[in-house]
């Protein structure tokens, strides 16, 4: 049975659900519990990665560097990952994060745009970080394209390349096909990051493991964008049953999840809008922004998300939500 490396993303992907308002206290208690449970890596950053604090995505309540440093202080064994999206964060942000205590960087690009990440991958390696390439919105490109882009990441020095299902749109057989192709074409380890918009995060994670993925992401109580991620504590239970090794203590990771349950603003259930994210193939972090825009312009949030899917918007284009909502609203007016 496989030895798997679990990366918990509660304190990064969960930032979307928390509207980027994690407090230092929440981060410290979660970090301590993750560390005690034996989680090898967990991620701390603004939901949109280092430098993501903005009007476009939402300002961080507490500076992420402060949160990284606080998390680091709580750790005896866990290592801290940060996310960096070139175009949003810059190299200086990464250097600062390393000062604060980051041990791993995951450099994320849209699935077709890996070449913007060369500098950042190289910097990660030069700084001695575990360096990972993250291909987002993996559902939106054919597998051949994914392989081509993953090879770019590998050529820049990435030690792991991820298939990232940002929209929670992939189906298990598609995950299998993508992971299998990367396994046969690349020398580096492969990872999978899922979202649960179609209630398939766990199934997709297992499909990825079956095809040889070695790095898998989860979040406690599924706290993440959209309907959240593969639920870490449940994933550990399932992996135990399957006989895979993660080095994570089941009871202790369940305890960690209870800490998150205390502060999460709402359960990560699959609602109409979050289902539509997966169905229409829209970046999961658009969810709460679409809800706000729908209220503001008195239109159906599902209409906004479906329209965004049609327009093939990519991660980071949150400005399109307001635009589409205002356009839909003016259409409604015209009909009246």
């Amino acid at each position: 049975m496989a030895h798997l490396t679990v990366v918990d993303v509660t304190l990064r992907d969960g930032s979307h659900s928390m509207k980027h308002a994690f407090t230092e206290k929440q981060v410290r208690s979660t970090a301590r519990a993750l560390d005690e449970a034996g989680v090898p890596y967990f991620e701390v950053s603004h939901g949109d990665g280092l430098g993501g604090s903005s009007l476009q995505y939402g300002f961080s309540k507490v500076n992420e560097m402060k949160l990284i440093a606080a998390a680091k202080e709580e750790c005896q064994q866990s290592k801290i990952s940060v996310l960096l999206l070139p175009g949003i964060g810059i190299k200086e942000d990464l250097k600062e994060a390393v000062q604060a205590g980051a041990d791993m960087v995951r450099v994320a690009t849209h699935v077709t745009e890996a070449d913007v990440a060369k500098q950042h991958i190289e910097l990660g390696r030069n700084l001695g970080l575990k360096t990972v390439g993250f291909l987002m919105m993996a559902h939106s490109a054919p597998t051949s394209k994914l392989v081509e882009q993953a090879k770019l990441f590998e050529s820049y020095g990435a030690e792991v390349v991820y298939v990232t299902d940002s929209a929670g749109a992939l189906l298990p057989h598609e995950v299998k096909e993508k992971i299998a192709a990367l396994r046969s074409e690349l020398g580096v380890d492969i990872g999978f990051h899922g979202h649960n918009n179609l209630s398939l995060a766990m199934a997709n994670t297992l499909a990825a493991i079956e095809e040889g993925a070695k790095y898998i992401d989860g979040s406690l109580r599924a706290l993440g964008a959209g309907s959240g991620n593969t639920q870490t504590e449940v994933m550990i239970a399932v992996l135990n049953r399957l006989g895979h090794q993660t080095g994570i203590d089941l009871y202790k990771i369940m305890d960690a999840a209870n800490i998150v349950a205390d502060y999460m603003p709402r359960p990560q259930e699959i609602t109409g809008a979050s289902l539509i994210l997966g169905y229409a193939g829209v970046y999961s972090s658009f969810l709460l922004h679409a809800k706000e825009a729908a209220e503001r312009f008195q239109v159906d949030e599902r209409d906004i998300l479906v329209e965004l899917g049609k327009r093939k918007v990519v991660g980071g284009q949150e400005d399109m939500i307001l635009q589409v909502a205002s356009e839909l609203a003016s259409k409604v007016k015209t009909f009246i």
């Binding site: 009007l55 476009q56 070139p86 175009g87 077709t112 745009e113 500098q119 980071g316 400005d319 205002s326």
Partner: protein, 294 residues
Amino acid sequence: MNKVKVGIIGSGNIGTDLMYKIEKSEVLEMSTMIGIDPDSEGLKRAKTRGYTVFSNGIEGFLQHPELADILFDATTAKAHDYHNQVLGKLGKQVIDLTPAAIGPFAVPAVNLTEHLDQPNVNMITCGGQATIPIVHAICRVVSVEYAEIVATIASKSAGPGTRANIDEFTRTTARGIEVIGGAKKGKAIIILNPAEPPIMMRDAIHALVEEEGKEKEITESIKKMVTKVQEYVPGYRLRTEPIFKGKRVSVFIEVEGAGDFFPPYSGNLDIMTASARKVAEEFARKKLSQLQKQ
């Protein structure tokens, strides 16, 4: 003589598009293109159109400095350093389209007349050219604490230079938002979108203003500014009315290119060359009026 001779250094896409734009100018005379690859599309086209071409770089031009008084540099930041040194000694005016940023920033709709005697001006970035006018339009009504821009461009119109130096884009644009736009703090984000057919360049400008209640004045100021930018970038337009929420203002624009050499969706490239031409024209008008006086 009623035109000033200009040269283009760099025979890539930007240089080639500039050539077509200069041909349409009333005060600029396309004279020479300077490249390093004799087989480049740009040099071939320039030669066919009857211009003097050099394929041995700036050294070739230095033998014939009479061929141009204003030069556009569309090469790289590193090459521009050297070009600027040698051209400065010859008293040439240089418009820098690289990230080198040796000279002051120029945004035609905002500070066109401030730098007419500068030996070197920098065109910032495409995102800067598209958004700084809007930031400035808000700033002239009310103090702006923070301005942030998000430029989304079609993957196909992001060249290898932009891709390899994406941090330069965010840093330089953010600085332009502060220095020329007038915001106390600036931030820039760039997103590449691979959708087919390619999307037009889109920019979101979000600002936090000091006081609420100036919605009408801000909207009016923005619309005036859009008209001003349209004088040199006809495909520049507002996507929707500005959206206000408390102290927050969000403005959405779209830039359609003129289709001179680039396809129309490459508004990001078009706004750079169109803005550079506009600056060169002002340089030229000043030179011509000085000649008349003499």
